[in-house]
């Protein structure tokens, strides 16, 4: 029952807020805050309650079923905490510019229920239902500001969400067919215990499809494209939620696959590790190059998801021995939620004061603003993995996991280790860049920042309290952080480590290497290459503008692009080119979802033209047949150009009638060349014959089709009766 309350209470509050909040959106805000506070209490109570299941069998085809365990309880607490603090902050954030606020708070509440539904789902189908609800209810967050950028980003978000959701549905369906269940517990080790190769192949296919769906939401390469676009354009509290927890719902799906279905399958683990490394490094590089505060943080989110994936990957490689990696994974998830809460709310504070996010415009804003300074610094130190802060604990565990995997699988994993350390260094570098820009550099002469506190006390508390948790967790790692890991052990089917000496020389070495790399990158790359005359410049080449120029076409090419490599292999010859083109163009129908731009417009135009010709030809096939028949077999007989009066029948009858009536104008029997039109009787018969002819004509014309079909039917039966039935 507690689970049902957790999931449905915010949704009910959301619906209730509609009539009350119509006049004044502040009432909607109160509703949302009350819901979040209640949720916080209920989810905290979960640690002391034993009843952990809830099911409504009749709901959806598979029945709605929720389950709680240690890990889910932990995450429920994280989620409701995030919601509570962001809402606390929202009031001041929206005070200046609040259009459509009621809509915003409504969808905030709906999403809270839905995301808790994802995490508490006991089977994949329930998870997917809530996942879809979450995708659609978070869409209005992205588009909240309704600027051009927001509309475009939201379009991408929606497209990825819909495509991802359908792909996941497909995968879950294959699982259901193959295993007869989608219950998460029953999936455990289903893959390694599959016997035939075909069965394994299908399970891999299912896994890949589900990975597409959930990985897209998590921002895993190559489906991360929506993330660096959508997070910066959303309002800051929503960005914090998108980055901090919505991505984690995607990670949750990957956890279900990796620690359930594919548990102990080293190949799957290796794939996760590869994806993790690419995502981690790419995100960090993008973050380093960005000169927009929130975009940097968004790219950083992508990079941190990569860190989490490497943990999943090494845990998969190590199987039952992967305790360190599993602990690192769950702790980095929790940590990242915390960091992004602090950092995005800090960024929101900057934005609500200046309405600017460009580093060159906001530089020096934080000077003399102590609360903001402290919070941002704690967040930066945490995410940078500096010893003494919580990020260090999780990164050390992840690093240890990679080292263990390297010991077992050899040098290839060492490459992953170096990418890991390099990404850690880059994290430090871009955080230093932001920190120095905001709090140490002086603003231009033109701009003057108002002195005094940046935020009201309530808003300041909303980012200071979570920020204080970072060093507390960091210093009591063995107790607090590993405690969280131990709670989660059941979900990960892994023995979590009990006590570790985090501050041993071995462990400090990793952090040290990252710190050195970070310092080197900051001073050599950021200060030398990315700055010119003391201003930050965007060194991301125009043609490499990942937002628009590469990924949109790439997505449109990649999806249907199976034929691309083929045609590249064989060269473009007469056979392959139309094939590849056709498939490519079919894919550009997707652009309808994105809206039009310079890249997609010609594509969709071309597609439409091809489809137009094709479908015209197809659709008119039957029409053409009918037309052809009408012109040939059923051509209406032309109305004979005979003057009925002149026809011998009517003439004879007419003249007989004339003779009987003794019309004086007629000289008996003498046939004239042309009957006089004024002849009374001849005229009457003329009309009669004309009517008869026309009626028969109309009758035959309209009945012809039906009659022909009937005739066909009767002939067929006749044939049947005569030949097949009688003599057959």
């Amino acid at each position: 029952m507690r689970l049902a309350v957790l999931v449905f209470l915010p949704m009910i509050f959301g619906v209730l807020s509609i009539p009350f909040g119509r006049k004044n959106p502040q009432i909607s805000w109160l509703f949302a805050l009350a819901a979040a506070a209640l949720e916080l209490g209920i989810s905290a109570a979960g640690f002391f309650l034993s009843k952990t299941r809830f099911a409504i069998p009749g709901l959806f085809p598979g029945g709605l079923s929720l389950v709680a365990d240690g890990f889910r309880n932990v995450y429920a607490l994280v989620i409701s905490g995030m919601w509570f603090f962001t809402l606390l902050f929202s009031r001041e954030y929206f005070a200046g510019h609040g259009a459509h606020l009621q809509r915003y708070y409504f969808f905030i509440m709906m999403t809270e229920g839905a995301i808790l539904g994802v995490f508490f789902a006991a089977d994949l189908l329930t998870a997917l239902v809530f996942f879809e609800i979450m995708s659609f209810t978070s869409f209005p967050w992205v588009i909240q500001e309704e600027t051009e950028g927001a509309v475009r980003a939201a379009g991408t978000y929606l497209a990825i969400a819909v495509i991802g959701g359908l792909a996941a549905l497909m995968g879950i369906w294959i699982l259901d067919v193959q295993l007869g269940t989608t219950e998460i517990r029953a999936l455990f080790r289903a893959f390694p215990s599959a016997e035939t190769g075909g069965e394994r192949g299908r399970l891999y296919l299912a896994g890949a499809l589900i990975l597409v769906g959930f990985g897209a939401k998590a921002g895993v390469f190559p489906l991360h494209i929506w993330l660096p676009k959508a997070h910066p354009v959303a309002p800051a509290p929503a960005s914090a939620l998108l980055s901090g927890v919505l991505t984690k719902s995607g990670v949750f799906g990957i956890l279900v696959l990796s620690f359930g279905l594919f548990y102990g399958d080293a190949a799957w683990g290796a794939w996760m590790l590869v994806l993790g490394c690419i995502t981690m490094l790419l995100g960090a590089v993008l973050a380093l190059l960005s000169i927009d505060l929130k975009r940097t943080l968004a790219c950083s989110s992508m990079s941190q998801i990569g860190f989490i994936l490497t943990g999943i990957g090494t845990a998969g490689l190590l199987g039952a021995e992967g305790g360190l990696s599993a602990a690192g994974t769950v702790l980095h998830m929790v940590n990242h939620s915390l960091f992004k809460l602090v950092l995005f709310l800090s960024a929101g504070t900057v934005y609500m004061n200046l309405h600017e996010l460009d580093l060159n415009r906001i530089r020096g804003f934080g000077r003399g603003k102590h609360a903001l300074h402290a919070a941002f610094l704690l967040g930066a130190l945490g995410i940078g993995g500096i010893p003494g802060f919580s990020g260090y604990i999780s990164k050390t565990l992840l690093h240890e996991g990679i080292v263990e995997a390297a010991a077992e699988y050899g040098p290839a994993i060492h490459a992953a280790e170096w990418i890991f350390l390099l990404s850690g260094g880059l994290t430090l570098a871009y955080m230093t860049k932001l920190y120095i820009c905001l709090f140490h550099e002086k603003p231009d002469e033109k701009t003057e920042h108002k002195p005094g506190p940046a935020a009201q006390p309530l808003s300041a508390l909303s980012f200071l309290i979570p920020a204080l948790l970072i060093p507390v967790f960091g210093l009591t790692g063995n107790f607090s952080m590993l405690g969280i890991a131990r709670l989660s052990g059941g979900f990960f089917h892994t023995e979590m480590p009990e006590v570790l000496s985090f501050f041993s020389l071995e462990n400090l070495k990793g952090a040290g290497i990252s710190a050195v790399i970070g310092a080197a990158v900051y001073f050599l790359v950021v200060r030398k290459l990315l700055m010119k005359d003391g201003a930050y410049v965007n060194r991301l080449p125009k043609w490499l503008d990942l937002e628009e120029k590469v990924y949109r076409p790439l997505l449109l090419k990649l999806l249907p692009g199976v034929f691309g490599p083929v045609s590249a292999l064989f060269g473009e010859n007469r056979l392959t080119r139309p094939l590849a083109e056709g498939v490519f163009r079919a894919g550009s129908g997707l652009s309808l979802l994105f809206g039009e731009n310079r890249v997609t417009a010609p594509l969709s135009c071309g597609t439409l033209r091809v489809l137009k010709v094709l479908s015209r030809a197809l659709s008119d096939m039957t029409d053409a047949l009918v037309y052809f028949l009408r012109k040939t077999l059923f051509r209406p007989a032309r109305i004979a150009d005979t003057d009925p009066v002149r026809s011998s029948v009517s003439y004879r009858i007419g003249s007989i009638a004339d003779r009987i009536s003794g019309d004086p104008t007629k000289k008996g029997g003498k046939r004239r060349k042309k009957p006089v039109p004024s002849d009374r009787h001849a005229k009457f018969f003329y009309r009669l014959v004309e009517t008869v002819i026309h009626t028969t004509h109309n009758l035959s014309d309209s009945m012809s089709f039906a009659l022909l079909m009937l005739a066909l039917a009767i002939t067929a039966i006749l044939f049947y009766v005569l030949f097949v039935h009688r003599f057959g």
Binding site: P61, V129, E146, G155, L592, E596, S619, M621, A706, M709
Partner: protein, 484 residues
């Protein structure tokens, strides 16, 4: 238990009173509406009484020869179809009141409309293929005047196309029906049986808009929206699908067809139709025509389920019949409401309308999501059952079908959800000034739409009863088989 003899008055009631409506000269339009509403509601009530308490025994009213008789029977399958019709008809009538509010000739319209209701019920209540054929032809005749109601050149042409297509199709169905009545459909001459089965399915398939006999459906979307919504998304097209079910599971026996070329040819056609309809819908920019093409695709989902010839397949098909009906009728209502209020019929003209016509577009969003198959709305449930049935059948064709259905789901997302996005969040280039002063649809139009939207959500959340009914029907059909 109500004896089956009462089936005849139930279906004659709307026919007789519909015809009387044309005879009466009502002085006020409000009287026409009141009369129509009472007749329709009573028809629905009688039908539901028969569905819930009626006997399943056949009742023979007229015997022409030993083999041909006019027989009514109300078994599970018929009750299912009649339930859909009896539920959706009053809602459409309610919607039509507002839609045709300004029309002078609405008496004529409602007269034919009510008669069509009786005839559709007749299809559901038919006790043998011959009776089914009679009502099938009558349905064509009673709906042609509705299609050409507006009297424009386009409407008359569309009606003619419709008439020719349906009549021709029925002729083929007649061939099949006559063959069935010879009693030759058995294992001895199995190949001949298959030929006649294919002919019959193609004949009834005209109304179910199987490619390449689908041409009439998009053309007929020029008719007034209540007609397109009810007749061309629910009654007429579903009557086609229903007849195919009767032919397959009750007329011929699935055992004779399953695994033969006949099944494969027909499944291929159905799959082709799904892809074709979805692709055409993506490129069609006329709103109602887009929905019509979507109907073309979705009807073949039903046919695909039937043609799998398994009880799971039939169950999925019945579910999709019910759920697609409520989803598509709502989508048409939304399109009609926009057309009625603003006079716009093209997708491009919808930019930003979602903000102005909140109720209409909220309902349309529900319909779009449900049609795409987003859980927890009802469209998801029927698609899930169809997919599972395909997987259980396990032939290459059924796997191909699963792939096609999933591909079509992507296309559905493109053509439906892109409209929703456009309506709420127009491209920045769009001229929003022309939306000034646009108001939401009148309440009388919104009420049936909201009922349907809630219905979609409700049947999606609590599908147990409908799933159970469909399963019982499928099992019974599977157990008896033939002899219809």
């Amino acid at each position: 238990m109500i004896p089956s003899v009462f089936l005849l008055p139930v279906l004659l009631f709307p026919v007789a009173f519909g015809a009387l409506l044309a005879a009466f000269r009502f002085r006020k339009r409000a009287h026409v509406r009141l009369y129509t509403m009472i007749v329709t509601l009573l028809t629905s009530a009688f039908s539901w009484a028969m569905i819930l308490f009626g006997s399943t025994e056949p009742a023979v009213f007229l015997r022409f020869t030993r083999d041909f008789s006019f027989t009514l029977m109300f078994d599970g399958c018929g009750r299912f179809f009649a339930g859909i019709v009896a539920t959706l008809w009053p809602l459409t009538v309610l919607y039509a009141f507002e839609y045709l509010a300004e029309d002078e000739r609405q008496g004529v319209f409602f007269s034919w409309f009510t008669m069509a209701c009786g005839v559709t019920l007749g299809i559901a209540m038919s006790g043998n293929i011959f009776t089914l054929y009679i009502f099938y032809e009558l349905l064509t005749l009673t709906t042609v005047p509705l299609v050409m109601y507006t009297g424009t050149r386009e409407a008359v042409r569309a009606a003619r196309t419709y008439f020719v297509f349906c009549l021709g199709g029925a002729a083929f169905a007649l061939i099949s029906l006559l063959y069935l009545s010879t009693g030759e459909a058995s294992v001895e001459n199995v190949e001949t049986t298959r030929i006649f089965y294919v002919l019959g399915v193609l004949g009834f398939g005209v109304k179910a808009a199987v490619f390449p006999m689908h041409g009439w459906l998009p053309k007929a979307s020029v008719a007034p929206t209540p007609v397109t919504a009810l007749l061309h998304a629910v009654a007429v097209v579903k009557a086609g699908a229903f007849s195919v079910i009767r032919l397959t599971f009750y007329g011929y026996s699935p055992e004779l067809i399953r695994g033969s070329w006949a099944q494969y040819v027909l499944i291929t056609l159905a799959l082709l139709t799904i892809l074709y309809g979805a692709v055409r819908a993506v490129r069609e920019m006329h709103w109602k025509k887009r929905l019509a093409y979507s109907t073309v695709a979705n009807l073949s989902y039903i046919l695909f389920g039937v043609l799998l010839m398994t009880k799971e397949g039939l169950q999925g098909a019945l579910l999709h019949m019910a759920f697609h009906a409520e989803i598509k009728i709502l989508a048409f209502f939304a399109a009609g409401a926009v057309l009625h209020v603003t006079g716009r019929e093209y997708v491009q003209e919808m930019d930003g309308l979602g903000r102005k016509m909140k109720g209409v577009f909220a309902c349309f969003t529900v319909s779009a999501l449900a049609l795409t198959g987003i859980p927890p709305l009802s469209g998801f449930i029927s698609k899930w059952h169809l997919l599972t049935a395909a997987a259980k059948a396990g032939t290459p064709f059924s796997w191909a079908g699963a792939a096609v259905i999933l591909t079509a789901a992507f296309l559905t997302a493109i053509y439906m959800i892109s409209m929703v996005r456009r309506a709420y969040f127009p491209d920045s280039k769009a001229e929003l000034s022309k939306n000034e002063g646009v108001k939401d649809a009148p309440l009388l139009m919104l009420v049936p739409m909201i009922i349907l939207a809630l219905g979609i959500l409700f049947t999606g959340l609590f599908p147990g009863a409908v799933i159970g009914a469909a399963r019982d029907i499928a099992e019974a059909a599977h157990a008896t088989g033939g002899g219809f």
